[in-house]
């Protein structure tokens, strides 16, 4: 079943098209990334899918509900982490959580208390639950905002830069949580991020947009493949000398070689992945003591940057 479907979505502000003919669908339990530079139209897209602003053209459905005709139902079933934490600084964490839980219809007190406790415990905020949120650090506010988005156990979650302002440990916790939510509870996540390593690790598919227009939809793996120029491997040896380097340079399958003498390491671009065993064989036959062979892949970031360059 499709959790999110967008058909030719358009949003104009005073004649300026912030989003133009955006079509995509997200499956239930999928983590779907929305990537693009600042001003690409990511936040506007999320706002349309949250029934906060109305599309100028096209339509979108969330779990089958139309964002314009069933706006209230759409807002009920989604949880949203907005660009800024959007928390009430004079209220305590507990008061913020209780307000939003009730606003989202979590009326049963024991269910509400259990959920709030569970979330604040997970984000290590329980001990600070009675402090005004205005006294929280940026990272704590971000964690609380994510906890708020989850307080009504939404079917679909929109996360706009969820790891922004978080330390590495907290960022990893959030990533683990997102994986757990989709795996165990089949929640669908629409992730908007500039952290391409997050998107690479988490997303089943990503949609890259620029200036409001869709550029491509693909899995991070397919994108990496598309922009991979061949096979690149890193080889560590015990002793690196000029003869060995010259020998490798002379091999027919070697396209390019980069040398790091201080680390006794060479990075070799090969014609294809079948050439890796041939390279290792040639090194061993030469008498080199090979310590490790590590394939180097094109990252999502490389693919993204190339796409953006192509666009410009």
């Amino acid at each position: 079943m499709k959790s999110i479907e967008a058909f030719d979505l358009v949003k104009s502000f005073n004649g300026f098209k912030a989003v133009e003919n955006l079509s995509f669908s997200v499956d239930e339990g999928e983590i779907f990334g929305l990537l693009g530079p600042n001003g690409a139209g990511k936040t506007t897209t999320i706002r349309m899918l949250s029934a906060l602003i109305a599309p100028t053209g096209g339509r979108a459905t969330i779990a089958g509900y139309d964002v314009q005709d069933d706006a209230l139902k759409v807002r009920e079933i989604i949880g949203i982490l907005t660009e800024s934490p959007s928390l009430y600084g004079r209220l305590t964490a507990m008061e913020n959580m209780e307000f939003f839980a009730k606003a989202y219809g979590v009326t049963d007190k024991s269910e509400r208390d259990t959920k709030i406790r569970e979330l604040l415990d997970f984000f290590q905020l329980w001990d600070r639950r009675n402090d005004p949120v205005g006294q929280y650090s940026k990272g704590m506010k971000q964690k609380l905002a994510i906890a708020r988005a989850l307080v009504h156990s939404p079917e679909i979650l929109y996360l706009d830069e969820p790891t922004s302002g978080l330390d590495p440990k907290s960022s990893k916790d959030i990533r683990d949580l997102m994986e757990a939510l989709t795996e165990n509870q089949h929640q669908t996540i629409l992730l908007c991020t500039h952290r391409l390593e997050d998107a690479e690790k988490l997303c089943d598919r990503v949609l890259i947009i620029n200036k409001g227009k869709p550029i491509t939809i693909a899995s991070p793996r397919d994108l990496r493949k598309r922009f991979s120029s061949g096979q690149e491997v890193q080889v560590g040896v015990s002793q690196l000398d000029s003869d060995l380097i010259a020998m490798v340079r002379g091999l027919p399958m070697v396209v390019n070689i980069t040398v790091n003498e201080s680390e006794n390491r060479i990075s070799v671009s090969l014609g294809n992945e079948l050439d890796t065993p041939r390279l290792v064989k040639a090194l061993v036959e030469y008498g080199a003591e090979v310590r490790y062979v590590k394939p180097l892949e094109t990252s999502l970031e490389d693919a993204y940057l190339e796409l953006m360059e192509e666009e410009q």
Binding site: L52, L87, R90
Partner: protein, 273 residues
């Protein structure tokens, strides 16, 4: 529309306001000044409240415009007693219309424009609360504390006035019927108008201060009433106030219809940062 959802917004905003000195202080200080300082000045130093120019003529004008029964009642009083009576029972009464205007507009400005300024609006608008539920919650949080402060101010003013004047007059001069009409009928009508106008202003501006400064202009018509009463041009008798209230409630209705049309998620988000 679900009333419990509006009450939820009311409670949330009320807690926020009760912890906001910027909103709380003017709400407390102004009624306290009106409640204690005005009766004290009028009773202890009657000459100090005289307006420059022709005070006696002004007093005579006011007395001549008062209902005949009141005129007959104060004829037997000494000039000082007459002065104190007219000042405390008639001249200062429009001051108590400033309290609901000021309190309601300060809270309404904080509640609407303040949310934009503090970037808390988007998460609130993303909740499954309807526009009408959100608007009603925010109107209630502007109206109830504003009227509460007005009522407390009125009780304190009445108590202070009666304590200070009982010995001299041998009776309680406050409250009288016009005051009751003013506090319970005219003040709510004025308060609602001030909230309605502030809602409209807030939907058009980005910050609390801008909204507060613009809504402060609402005090001007109240000051006109004050000067009208002082010059004897318009005495706020019960009948006059009931007619004014009726007209104001009608204007409130129109203003709120207009405000509700402006209170739309997309418009509000477009104005926020």
């Amino acid at each position: 529309m679900r009333l419990d959802k509006s009450m939820l917004v009311f409670r949330k905003d009320f807690i926020e306001i009760s912890r906001n000195k910027e909103v709380l202080l003017p709400m407390i200080i102004v009624p306290l000044i009106f409640a204690f300082l005005l009766p004290a000045i009028s009773v202890i130093a009657p000459e100090s409240v005289n307006t420059p120019g022709e005070p006696d003529m002004m007093l005579e004008n006011m007395i001549s415009e008062l209902p005949e029964a009141v005129q007959a009642k104060i004829m037997s009083l000494t000039p000082t007693q007459q002065y104190i009576y007219v000042m405390l029972v008639y001249f200062f009464s429009p001051f108590f219309l400033i309290i609901p205007v000021m309190s309601s507009s300060v809270i309404a400005a904080d509640s609407f424009a303040g949310e934009k300024e503090r970037n808390t609006l988007e998460a609130l608008l993303a909740t499954p609360l309807t526009d009408a539920e959100l608007l009603l919650g925010k109107i209630l949080v502007s109206f109830i504390p504003g009227m509460g402060v007005t009522l407390i101010g009125f009780i304190l003013y009445t108590a202070t006035t009666d304590i200070l004047t009982y010995q001299s007059f041998g009776m309680f001069i406050m409250p009288n019927v016009p005051w009751i009409v003013m506090i319970f009928v005219l003040a709510p009508a004025v308060s609602l108008l001030s909230i309605g106008v502030t809602v409209i202003i807030s939907s058009r501006v980005k910050g609390f201060r801008e909204a507060q400064q613009l809504s402060a202009l609402l005090v001007v018509p109240v000051l006109a009433l004050l000067f009208g009463q002082a010059s004897g041009f318009l005495i706020l008798g019960s009948r006059v106030m009931l007619v004014m209230s009726l007209i104001l409630f009608g204007i409130d209705f129109v203003v709120f219809r207009f405000g509700l049309r402006l209170f739309q998620r997309e418009n509000i988000l477009a104005q926020s940062r």
